[in-house]
Amino acid sequence: MLRLILKRVVNMVPTIAGVALVVFVLFSVIPGSFISSLMDDGRGGMDPAVVERMRRELGLDDPVAVRIVRYLGQLVVGDLGTSFRTREPVTRLIGQRLGASLELTFAAMGFAMLVGIPLGFYAALRPGSLIDTAAMIAAVSGLSLPKFWLGLMLMYLFAEYLHWLPSFGYGGWEHLILPALALGVSPMALLARTTRASVLEVINADFVRTARSKGMSETRVVTWHVARNALLLVLTTVGLQFGALMGQAVVVEKLFSWPGLGGLLVDSVVQRDIPAVQGGILVIVLFFLVINMLVDIAYVVIDPRIRAG
């Protein structure tokens, strides 16, 4: 078990390095730079001497190859560099916001799993019924909704019109509900579809028929044989969705003025604060990889066949 975990962790390293490399190369070819974005803010030209000094201070004078090696070297010891904008370590900027991002991501995914999986399960047990049709219409609709528009509509209904919940900001649980709903609806829809599809696949399997024919009660067949095997397939979707959610949260965070990584990323992109953008992307990628690693490990724990093989 420990060996498996270690192996997974080691497997993540090349991907992280690859992502860092791709992002770094991408930003090294930018025609404009942080300094030129300072210059075209309408306040007129900057003193060339100041520009020269800033370039030197920010380390932009060195060749790209030197900068890449330096960046990867810092990365190994967990240093994401210094923000151009605030001159703070990027790790601190991210640290201040990671908590809020995690809170939102977990709340949204919790909602998606609690609603999506039972919905898909229920629909699959009664294929073709009214509930099945309604659930699948709701699911395909949920996948087609722009998250920020859903958020905007929720904001109008529950905050501006009914005055039940605050319209934006960060604070207690009442601030969390609307952003979590806006973010959670599309993974919920996808989970409902996946669960339905995998339950339908399992429910006609030989081992289920065997269980029925030996006189096992329907409840026990469903909970013991169908659910266990179907949820194994659902787990992959949970992992992929969960991992991707932090990236998708950008727009929802911006809409609800949620102080997470999304706001940091968007502001940093606008001002070309490259170390902050790179750091933010790397943290989101790391989250994706860690979640999927945990899912892989969960497979082994749940399914004895994988453990043996």
Binding site: V19, F148, V251, V270, V285
Partner: protein, 273 residues
């Protein structure tokens, strides 16, 4: 019967969006950009302004109709770029194998780990806002799924008799890929492209909403919604109609994709839930 319903309803919604885009000058009742009239701002939907007017007195119906042009252009063109990149990389990796396959698979894994919206955001930061940047940013970030399917299909198909026969008859690699492999994997690729178009339209709306995509005053559904955010209390209809337009267009593409999958790629029903 149900799968036909998907196809027809989805196709219907999508056809509506295409019609709006093509006939925008005929359908619009006002100028979508220059028709500003501050004396008539924030009017609720009525006979003059079917969908109401925005904070600058522009007709929302006309802006929504013209917005279809932007959304569909972005959806179709960026997905086309994704399909070409994904298909070329996938077929060559699957057919040739070796170091090229390792390279493509490695790149695909890296791309899969970076959330596509975040990647597109980074590319928009480099290229600056605007339609052209959107096409590039969204065209470069969503080819991984196409690539994986094309690669898997190429690997499965290359040992088939007819591919071997073509090889023996002296067909070159390029001719085998184009004549033998591509037609036999077109079904799943078309399905992915249809669903991907919906994804691109959502991403364009999100980027424009963040202020990084289409810039005002041009009518993109996403940028209209970012105006609406600040005026949600006074002008709720400004938020409602562009959002509904996005929703029904994407819903149409998703249903169409589901329907096409049932016809073109029946085995994959469990592979792509």
């Amino acid at each position: 019967m149900k799968m036909r319903a998907n196809l027809w309803i989805g196709g219907g919604f999508f056809a509506l969006a295409v019609t709006a885009a093509l006939l925008a000058p005929v359908l619009a009742t006002h100028d979508p950009v220059l028709g500003a009239d501050l004396m008539r701002s924030e009017e609720p939907p009525g006979r003059e302004f079917w969908f109401g007017s925005d904070t600058q007195g522009r007709d929302i119906w006309s802006r929504v109709v013209y917005g279809a042009r932007i959304s569909l252009t972005v959806g179709v063109v960026s997905q086309l770029i994704n399909s070409v990149i994904g298909t070329v990389l996938g077929i060559t990796a699957g057919y040739w194998g070796g170091w090229w396959d390792d390279l493509v698979s490695g790149l695909t894994n890296i791309m899969l780990a970076i959330p596509s919206l975040i990647f597109a955001l980074a590319i928009m930061a480099i290229l600056g806002p605007g339609l052209f940047s959107l096409l590039i940013a969204l065209g470069l970030t969503n080819w991984t799924f196409t690539c994986r399917i094309a690669r898997a299909q190429a690997m499965a198909l290359k040992s088939q008799g007819y591919v071997q026969a073509a090889k023996v008859m002296g067909s070159g690699d390029l001719s085998i890929m184009l004549r033998e492999l591509l037609p036999n994997m077109a079904g799943p690729l078309i399905v992915i492209a249809t669903l991907g178009m919906g994804g691109s339209i959502l991403a364009e709306a999100a980027l424009s909403f963040l202020g990084l995509g289409i810039q005002p005053p041009f009518p993109s559904w996403g940028s209209m919604l970012s105006d609406a955010r600040d005026n949600i209390r006074a002008v709720p209809w400004l938020a409602a109609f562009p959002g509904l337009a996005i929703f029904f267009t994407v819903l149409g593409l998703n249903l169409l994709g589901d329907g096409l999958r049932d016809i073109l790629d029946p085995q994959s029903r469990s592979r792509l839930p």
